[in-house]
């Protein structure tokens, strides 16, 4: 005997008791006179009473059949498996969420401990993107699919567009965060260079006395780092991705706005653009004709 059968047997008495209490309750209810229920004279409902009671008895029989079917081991097994999906799903979500969080926390701690040590001046190749990749993958695998679930019914297109806009917004946010992090890198690397410079100047005994000298040194190094960063393919990629994601979001948001504007007496961008295009073509033709005449 397998494990499933054992689980089914364990749940049997519990289900029996539940079915019996349900049967007793609805049986008693069905035998109640409608006159008792609604406070109406009994004779006026004599005929209807039979109809009610026979209908209720039929429902009860159906219900009993359904409940007895539920008791069958294969049905019970399928039902239990189905109900087990939700906790498993929740566990999976929580697990991956916590894993991502711990990984992020570990990386942050590591990053803080290594500030000024790990970074190489004027080098922007092979950037450590684990944290952002983890977050992005977590979103792509665990959240994004829910927003892409096919929608049903009359409002399916509206719901689908709204979900897409939310999805694109999150992806844009992720891209912006990563872009900001890339923009922050020169600051980190400049701190490292400044630490080295000050250390060397301290050893050589020629530390500047004027604090403004430190600022001038810092801004010059920072400018150099930014210039190096901006020429790197990593920056170009981050910039391109951020712009792409922003454009994706704006296009999807526009669709949702157009859906919302449908109910209001306000023209949408799409409608106005169509009009503008026609006006532009007409104006051009008129101007051309006018020029030819003169």
């Amino acid at each position: 005997m397998n494990q499933d059968a054992k689980e089914t047997a364990d749940y049997g008495p519990l289900l029996d008791a539940w079915m019996k209490s349900l049967g007793d309750f609805w049986g008693a209810i069905s035998k109640m006179s409608p006159a008792d229920t609604y406070g109406m004279p009994e004779e006026e409902h004599a005929k209807k009473e039979d109809v009610h009671q026979s209908s209720a008895a039929q429902t009860m029989r159906l219900w009993s059949t359904y409940l007895s079917l539920l008791k069958e081991p294969p049905v019970m097994q399928a039902m239990l498996q189905g109900s087990a999906v939700i906790p498993a799903l929740m566990m999976r979500l929580a697990q991956s969420g916590w894993e991502g969080y711990f990984d992020m926390q570990r990386q942050w701690t590591q990053k803080m401990a290594q500030t000024g040590q790990r970074t190489e001046a004027y080098q922007f190749e092979n950037l450590d993107e684990n944290m952002f990749r983890t977050m992005r993958e977590m979103y792509e695998k665990e959240v994004s699919p829910f927003l892409k679930v096919p929608q049903l019914g009359l409002t399916r297109f509206y719901q689908e567009r709204a979900n897409h806009a939310v999805d694109k917004f999150h992806k844009f946010q992720a891209a912006v965060t990563e872009f900001c992090r890339v923009l922050y890198l020169p600051m980190e690397k400049t701190t490292k260079v400044m630490q080295q410079n000050i250390e060397e100047m301290t050893k050589a005994g020629n530390l500047p006395e004027n604090p403004q000298e430190y600022y001038r040194m810092w801004i010059k190094v920072l400018e150099g780092h930014y210039m190096t960063l901006f020429k790197s393919p990593e920056y170009a990629e981050a910039l391109r991705t951020t712009l792409d994601k922003l454009e994706d979001f704006l296009i999807e948001r526009q669709k949702v706005l157009e859906d919302m504007l449908q109910t209001l007496p306000v023209p949408t961008h799409r409608e106005m653009d169509g009009l503008y295009r026609e006006i532009h073509t007409l104006k051009k033709e008129v101007k051309g004709l006018k020029k030819k005449r003169t």
Binding site: L183, P186, T202, K203, G205, L207, E209, N210, P211, Q212, Y215, I219, L222, E223, Y226, M227, F230, K231, A236, L239, R240, L243, D244, L246, E247, D248, L250, I251, H269, M272, D273, Y276, R277, I279, H280, K284, K287
Partner: protein, 399 residues
């Protein structure tokens, strides 16, 4: 063992002095910032003499008549990015004012602020539409057959296109910080523009937002443009003149109209990504923009330290046009410095005026001037030269 020498006492002394200065500066700054400040820009009087859609034509009023001026009117075409007010930023540093004082009859295109209804306007609409209508208007108004045309940055590119398509209407062409060769990795803008997808951008935005472009320009040098610039402001916040001029520049920089979507799309694809203009392969309204048809005298001015239009993006033009009378001038400054720095103010306008006077003709545009005759005699005398470190002059003239 040698102990590292750290002048803690000296550093602390400086910090204390600085703190005292900051306190004193803050008190003065308060009176400066709360007092009356003159931060107005574009104050030289003008009349709007022509209007079409959002586009206006300004004609500047000359306060004093100049005997030895330039007869042929000068039409200045600014870029679609930022505003033409940069040429008239502040008293004493106004290109407009300098032209007027030199006796130039000055017209300037104000492209206005495009709204979404302008998103379908192409480069053809700007060059063969608005620009051509404006040129016709000025020619009719001044009873001339041609005029002097000066283009700035993107407006320079438009002016080159216009001159190639309507050479008979342009007497002399001046291009300043004008990008024509986009096949360069010198400027970051050229690198980034090759990586963007203008089709998606315009589908998403309609017009190219001015604020987004400005953000991109700030990112070209964030250390200087987003940090050091404002540190400098705080350091000089107690000086009224400095604050006024700083605010004027801020007003100009962040006054950024959107760029019509289709124009932006075409400029990025045809110029930045395909480099069609310099190769005479660009088409406007079904007509080929052949640079060999740019046969009028050409003065090409650019900045040695221009980070938006680096020398490599500007200096190829003179070798590709059909004109025999060309001159490259490389000034020791950047993209904006050409027009606003006090040093170049002394060089920029005088050079242009001198060059124009030498090619001004008899005043009605019918025949060549003495200067033109002289230049025609010099043809083939090797007036084109390679750029020098500070100044590049092709006809032996120095500025």
């Amino acid at each position: 063992m040698d102990r590292p020498k750290i002048p803690i006492d000296a550093i602390l002394k400086h910090l204390t002095e600085d703190a005292e200065k900051v306190q004193e500066r803050a008190q003065k700054a308060s009176s400066v910032l709360l007092g009356e400040l003159d931060t107005s820009i574009a104050t030289t009087p003008y009349d709007v003499v022509y209007e079409e859609d959002r586009v206006k034509l300004k004609h500047y009023r000359s306060s004093t008549p100049v005997e030895d001026g330039v007869n042929t009117p000068l039409l200045v075409v600014y870029a679609l990015i930022n505003r033409e007010t940069m040429l008239d930023l502040q008293p004493g540093r106004s290109v407009v004012d300098s032209f007027l004082k030199s006796g130039v009859d000055l017209y300037m295109v104000d492209w206005g602020y495009p709204t979404r209804r302008e998103r379908f306007l192409t480069i053809d609409d700007h060059v063969n539409g608005y620009m051509d209508n404006i040129v016709d208007f000025v020619l009719k108004r001044t009873n001339r057959r041609n005029l002097n045309l000066m283009g700035i940055c993107m407006g320079g590119s438009f002016s080159v296109m216009y001159s190639a398509l309507h050479p008979e209407k342009v007497k002399n062409l001046i291009t300043t910080v004008c990008p024509t060769n986009f096949n360069t990795e010198q400027g970051l803008l050229h690198v980034w523009m090759k990586n963007i997808n203008p089709d998606r951008m315009i589908d998403a935005f309609g017009n190219m937002p001015g604020d987004l472009m400005n953000f991109g320009f700030l990112l070209l040098n964030p250390a200087r443009l987003m940090i050091d610039k404002y540190v400098g402001f705080v350091e000089n916040i107690d000086k009224k003149d400095f604050v006024e001029n700083f605010i004027r520049m801020e007003k100009w920089i962040f006054d950024s109209p959107d760029v019509p979507g289709e124009t932006f799309r075409q400029f990025v694809i045809d110029c930045y990504q395909k480099n069609l203009l310099i190769e005479s392969r660009m088409e406007l309204g079904g007509k080929l923009v052949d640079l060999k048809k740019v046969t009028m005298p050409l003065l090409n001015i650019y900045g040695q330290y221009d980070h938006l239009v680096p020398p490599e993006a500007a200096n190829l033009l003179t070798s590709r046009v059909g004109s025999n009378d060309t001159e490259d001038v490389c000034l020791d400054t950047g993209h904006i410095g050409i027009y606003v720095s006090s040093k170049t103010q002394k060089e920029f306008v005088p050079k242009i005026v001198k060059w124009l006077k030498a090619r001004d003709g008899n005043g009605d545009g019918d025949g060549p001037s003495e200067g033109e005759k002289n230049i025609a005699n010099k043809k083939g005398s090797g007036i084109k030269s390679t750029p020098k470190k500070r100044k590049k002059v092709k006809n032996g003239d120095t500025i």
